[in-house]
C-alpha cells in the first residue's frame, strides 16, 4: 500500500533544520568571538 505522504512537510522540516542549524552556528561563533576579544581587551587594560 502506498503511503500518502505530503512532500511539502518534509521539505519544510528539512529547511527548518538546515537554516536554523546554520544560523545558530553563525550566531554562536560570532558571539563567542566578540566575548573572547572583549575578555582579551579587559586583561590588557587591567
Amino acid at each position: 500500500m502506498r503511503e500518502g505522504l505530503d512532500q511539502w512537510t518534509f521539505v519544510l522540516i528539512a529547511y527548518a533544520v538546515g537554516v536554523l542549524g546554520t544560523l545558530a552556528l553563525v550566531g554562536w561563533s560570532w558571539l563567542a568571538m566578540r566575548a573572547a576579544e572583549r575578555r582579551r581587551e579587559e586583561t590588557r587594560r587591567k
Binding site: 518534509f10 529547511y15 553563525v26 568571538m33 573572547a36 576579544e37
Partner: protein
C-alpha cells in the same frame, strides 16, 4: 605560508575578511535556498523533495571540506610547526560537525518520502555518520588536550588518520551498491538541468563563504583566549616573583 604565521598579521586580515564572508555567504546561500523553495519547479521524478537537495549537497560538501581542512592544517602543524595551523584545525571542527549533522538530517528527511525509509546502512550514509563521530571525537580530544595541557600533535595525528574516511565517502556510491545516487556533477559535466544545477552551485558557494567566515571567527576567538590566558599567567608569575 609562514607570512601568516604571525598572529598579529593574521588577525589584521581576519578582521577585514570575517564580516564580508559571513554577510556574502548568508546572502548567496539564503538567495539560492529561497529560489529552490519558492520558485524552482518540482522535479519530474522526485517531485517537491528535490527542493531539499541544494541544502543537502552544500552541507555534505562542507562536512567533507571541514575534515579536509583539519587534515591539511594538521599536516602543516606536524611538518612545519606552523603556529596557527592547530588553531585553524580546532576552528574548523565545530562548523564541519554542524554541516555533517545537517547533511545527515536533511538526507534522512529527503529519504523518507523518496526511498520510503529514514535510514539504510549503506556505504555512503554509514561513512558520513562515521565522519560525524570522528568530528565529535576530534572536538573532545582537542578540548581535553587544551584543558589538560598535552601535546597538540595528538589531535593533529587524529586529524590526519581520520582523513582516510574522506575518499571512502566520495567513492562509496561507486564502490558499493547503494540506494544513494552516484555523483550527478563530475568533471565530465552534469546530469542536472540548469534550473536545479544553478541554485545548487550558488548555495554550495554561499555555504562555503559562510564556512570560511565561521572558521575565521572561531580562530579569532581561540587566539583571543590564548592571548588573554598568556597575559593572566604572566601577571600571576610577576606577582608571585614580587612576593618572593
Amino acid at each position: 605560508m609562514h607570512g601568516f604565521a604571525n598572529p598579529a598579521r593574521f588577525l589584521r586580515i581576519a578582521r577585514w575578511l570575517t564580516v564580508p564572508l559571513l554577510v556574502g555567504g548568508l546572502l548567496l546561500a539564503g538567495g539560492a535556498l529561497a529560489y529552490s523553495l519558492f520558485f524552482a519547479p518540482p522535479e519530474q521524478l522526485q517531485g517537491e523533495t528535490a527542493r531539499i537537495l541544494p541544502l543537502h549537497v552544500a552541507t555534505a560538501w562542507l562536512g567533507m571540506a571541514g575534515w579536509t581542512t583539519i587534515a591539511i592544517a594538521s599536516l602543516v602543524e606536524l611538518v612545519w610547526r606552523h603556529p596557527l595551523a592547530g588553531v585553524a584545525a580546532r576552528a574548523a571542527a565545530v562548523p564541519g560537525a554542524t554541516f555533517a549533522a545537517i547533511c545527515l538530517a536533511t538526507g534522512s528527511i529527503w529519504g523518507r518520502p523518496t526511498w520510503g525509509t529514514w535510514w539504510v546502512w549503506d556505504g555512503r550514509l554509514t561513512s558520513m555518520l562515521i565522519l560525524l563521530f570522528l568530528y565529535l571525537g576530534y572536538i573532545a580530544l582537542a578540548q581535553a588536550i587544551h584543558r589538560e595541557g598535552g601535546s597538540s600533535r595528538i589531535p593533529a595525528i587524529f586529524g590526519l588518520v581520520g582523513a582516510i574516511n574522506i575518499p571512502i565517502i566520495h567513492y562509496s556510491t561507486i564502490w558499493w551498491n547503494s540506494l544513494h545516487q552516484p555523483p550527478s556533477i563530475t568533471t565530465g559535466g552534469s546530469a542536472m538541468s540548469p534550473e536545479f544545477l544553478v541554485p545548487l552551485l550558488v548555495a554550495t558557494f554561499g555555504f562555503s563563504l559562510l564556512f570560511g567566515g565561521v572558521v575565521l571567527a572561531r580562530m579569532r576567538a581561540l587566539l583571543a583566549e590564548i592571548q588573554a590566558e598568556a597575559r593572566l599567567r604572566r601577571r600571576a608569575l610577576d606577582v608571585s616573583e614580587a612576593a618572593a
